[in-house]
Every structure is written in structure tokens, then in C-alpha cells.
Amino acid sequence: MGGYLSSRLFYYIAAFAVALTFNFLLPRLMPGDPFEIMFAASQGKIQPAQLEVLKEQFGFVSGPWHVQFWEYIKGIFSGDLGPSLIYYPTPVTEIIAGSMPWTLLLAGVSSFISITVGLSLGIFAAYHRGGKLDSIASPGLTLLGAFPQMVSAMLILFLFGLHLDWLPISYGYDPDIDAGWTLEFFLSVASHAALPLLTLVISGLGGWLFLMRNSMINTLGEDYITMGKAKGLSGRRVMVQYAARNAILPVVTAVALNIGFLVAGLLIIEMIFNYPGVGNMMLTAVSGRDYPLLQGLLLTIVGCVLVANFLADLAYLWLDPRLRKS
């Protein structure tokens, strides 16, 4: 057990180190120094001396690369990612801390719903293969999931947000309402999250259903399923404890492999619904050439993906006793 976990942990640390290095190198290798842009944009209001001070403040110290790298690493581990250019002088960490909860809300709720519902449907569809649920839900949800997320987001936005005008299509909550632990605020947040969540759930359900269904169908052919039935166990116990319990293992692996794609989809959805999360902030950072903010966001996303992967590993370990053997 320890061996498996520590090797995984080592892998994630290495991956994070690589991400850190690229995050350091990319803006320095890219043509178009952000400070030159600022300098040009200020039209002479910034003196070259001031520019040097600014550079230092952003962590772009002069000196050989290894010195710069050391400064960069020190900055990151002390939680200092420098100030944002667009929202100067607000620190990048503060901006990320403000947009992260919204993204986590979308990611958490949509994953929870689409995974639990999708897997349950997959289990039932496979167990009663060819039945009503299987012949309606399986192709139907697959069709919905086959739309590119961008297209389904636009359709949903147009239909429910504009045409029917049922739900808000923008922002995290009604700006006229004070943020706080009130029911009004909570309802506002829920209604604003509804359409992005719907998009994410609809585009995710079919995938989970099919993944689980196919894995279940493979598992249902195993001898231990027949033995479970021969033992006179209830249909539900055979389905859950014998079939689904085994069929979920490859699905967990698939989850771990897909976390990166899920995040990418999430970012697009946030941009379309103008949702105040990390993805939308990234769009702002890119269009404003806010390198420090962009770097900070990328690093945070990489960190989140790695943590999610690690959690998937833990889940696998918990689900499969064969891995627990030291």
C-alpha cells in the first residue's frame, strides 16, 4: 500500500515540478515582454527607472536564470505570485482566491450529479440490458453528450436563458443582492449556476453512462456474478456488490485520465456563461496580457488537476484490495 501511494505521490510531485518550470520559462521565452507593452501603453508616463522597479515587483529580477528561478520558487512557496497587471495592485493570489470557489462550485456539483446519476444509470442499463431504460437512456444521453460542449452551452443559453427567459445567463449571482449567508443570496447563486450546471451535466452524463455500462457488461460475464446468483443473493446485491463494485474499477481509472479534459470543458462553459470562475478570469488574463495572473491561474489549475488525480488514486486503492498488498 505504502509503495503504491508513495510512487504515485512522487509522480505528482515530479509533474508539479515540471509544471512549475514551464510556468517560469514560458513568459520568459515568449516574444513580447509584458513590461515593454506596459511601457508602450503608458505612452511615456512610466519612466525606465520605474519600469525596473515594477519588474522587480513582478518577480522579474535581473540576473542569471538560476537566480531568477530561485526567486520565482521562493515567491510561489511563500504564496506570493505578485500583483496582477490588470487589477494592479491586487495580488494574483487574492484574485484566484476570489474566483476559485465559483469554479469549485460548478466542478463539484456538476461532477457529483453527472457521476452519480451517470454511473447509476449505467449500472441499471447494463444489468437490464436491452430493457426500457437501456434502449432509451443509453442512446439518448449519448446523443446529447456527443454535442460539443460549446454547442450545447449555446443552445441551452439560447433556449432557457433567452427564448424562454427562465434563468439568468450571466454572472454568479444578482449584483443587486448583498453577498452573505442569506436565503436570497443562496437562491440567486443557485439560479445563476443552473444553466452552466445543466450544460455540464448533460454533456457528461452520456459518457459516464456508457463507460459504466460497458464495464458492467464485461463484468457481468464473470464467473463470480454467476456464483453470486447461484448463492441466491438478491438481484440488488449481485448488481451492486458483485457486478458494479468490480465494474467501477476501470471507470475510476478513466475518471483520473479525464480530469484534465473535464477542467478544460469547465473553463469554456464559464466563458460562455460569463461565470466569475477561474476560466473566465483566464480569458480576462489572456486578453489583457496579464502574465502574472495567467501564470498563477495555470499553476492553480495544474495543482487542482494533480490533487484530483491523487484523490482518484486514493479511491482506487480503497476500492481494489489487490492494490493494498504491500
Binding site: 456464483m227 448463492k231 441466491g232 438478491s234 446485491r237 498488498k325
Partner: protein, 327 residues
Amino acid sequence: MSEQSVKQSQPLMDIRGLSVEYLVGDRRLRAVDNVSFTINKGETVGLAGESGCGKSTLAFALTKLQKPPALIVEGEVIFDGKDVLAFDEEELRRFRWKETSVVFQSAMNCLNPVISINQQICDVLRVHNPAMNRGELQDRARELLRIVGIHPDRLNQYPHQFSGGMRQRAVLAISLALKPQLIIMDEPTTALDVVVEREIMDQLSELKEQFGFSILLISHDLSLMGEITDRIAVMYAGKLVEIAPTEDVLFRPQHPYTKGLVNSFPDLLGEKKELTGIAGNPMNLFNPPAGCYFEERCPESTEQCKKSDPTLITLNSQHKAKCHLLS
């Protein structure tokens, strides 16, 4: 041993005219064709035949465990006066394992890999005896492992921590959990080496002495059967071709197929002789001939064999065979 138990025979499971078909596209393949025989209380019946002859299909059908596209098309399985094949889902669920447990062909694969042996013993105990409390379940589970020669301390381990032989013992323990009257064993030792096979078979004989259950042992290994069965039924191409007390089958086989089967195995104690085997391949069940199914491979076939399929002929009270040459 065989003579005594056959004499005081009291039927436990009576299989009457059982036929199972596989639906392949729009064609039907008859894998078990009108098979009838009886398993008596305390008796060990062997079911022999080459691969694909329908032995396992028959075994699965006895407790309605056949999987689609297999379909029971006719027949009855009378157990304790009731037709198992007429049971509804709930009756079937209660009947399974309580009265008839099954030891599957691949002990390696028939234990659920993600739950512990303890859970796999307790779930079957609990579902059939809802009144048992945690302590009683644990005691019984430990006792079952002890019975089959596994140290009870290994109760909470998982199948992958067991060797092949131990897994087969664990399956045996589970099959004994509810003290069933009949255990159906589908090639229980195929995956094991001969030493482990010997140990398990010896243990099985002891347990049978102790608990008095009946066994339906499915195998293609006649020498294994010779040691523990009272009677042997031989199947060919889905049909029962001969059934007789073990000694008769091994030393006085009547059906040409049984003769071929017996001659395919070396005799360790007897003099050296050439093994003849059976020429040809198993027939294609999609195009069954009008005559005897074995005619094509039969060294003794006659014109009549081509024309009509023989019926099962009673040679004496214990011995039946399905061959024109015997009529």
C-alpha cells in the same frame, strides 16, 4: 461403496426430459437434448463427456442459472416433489444454495475479487438466515474454513491472497455453508495440479461421509470419477448415451462412445496397452443427422444407425445405453 448406496436409493433430484437450446441468430442449437436421470440421496453421480457436449449447460440449467442465449425449452427438474424449473424468481432465490449449491469450473474466477472471503461466506449465510447475528455469522464462517482445511485466521483476507488450491477450498467452504442436499461440481479441479486435486478430492469424500450430501460431478476425467462416483452418466452431443454404476461404465461399457472414452485413458495398474481414443471431431449441432449422432465417428456403425436415432435402452435396472447394437 457404490453397490450399497445405490440399493437403498431415494431420489433427491429427478431430471425429466430436460432440453436446453442456444439461440444463435435465428437458428436454434440444441445443447442438451431430452436428458433424463435421477440423483439419489447421498449419491455421487458423475456426468462425463467431451468438451462442448452440454455437460455444463445441463448443470447450469438444473438451478436455472443458464445465461441468455441459452433457453430451457422443455423438461422438469423435480426436487423434493417440486419442479425447480417452474419456480418464480423469489422461490428460485430461496432454493438456490440452500438446497443445491454449485462449485464452478474456475475456482480462480468465481470468487469476487474485491470483497473478503468473510463477506462472501457471510452474505450467503445472511440472505438465507436473516436471524443470524454478527457473532453467529463469524463463528460459522470460521468453522466452515476449518472444515475445508484453511486456517480461520485467513477469514478476512481477499481471494488474491489465496493460492489456487485454497481458493477452491474456499469455494468448497462456501458451497457447504447452508448444508445443501446436493452440490453440483463443474470440473472442480481442472485448474489445479494433481497433488492439490488429490487433496481436495479426499477432503470432499470425507465431508460427504460427514454431511451426507449428494454430488453431481461434471468432468471429462473418467479416472477421477472412477474413484468417487457411484454412477456415471455419459453425454454425447447433448444426449445422454449411457448411464450405469461406475464399475459397469469403466469395465463393461456398452455404448461405442463410452468404450472410446474409457479407452482414451491409461490404466496405471493394468498392463500397457495402446490408447485408441475416438476418431473424428465432435459433430456440428447445427446440422444434426437423421440417425444416431455418433454414427459418423462410430467404429461399429451399421446402415440402421444412419437412418434412425436409437432410444435409451434399459439393459438392466441400473444400466441404460442409447445404441441400436444393443436392441
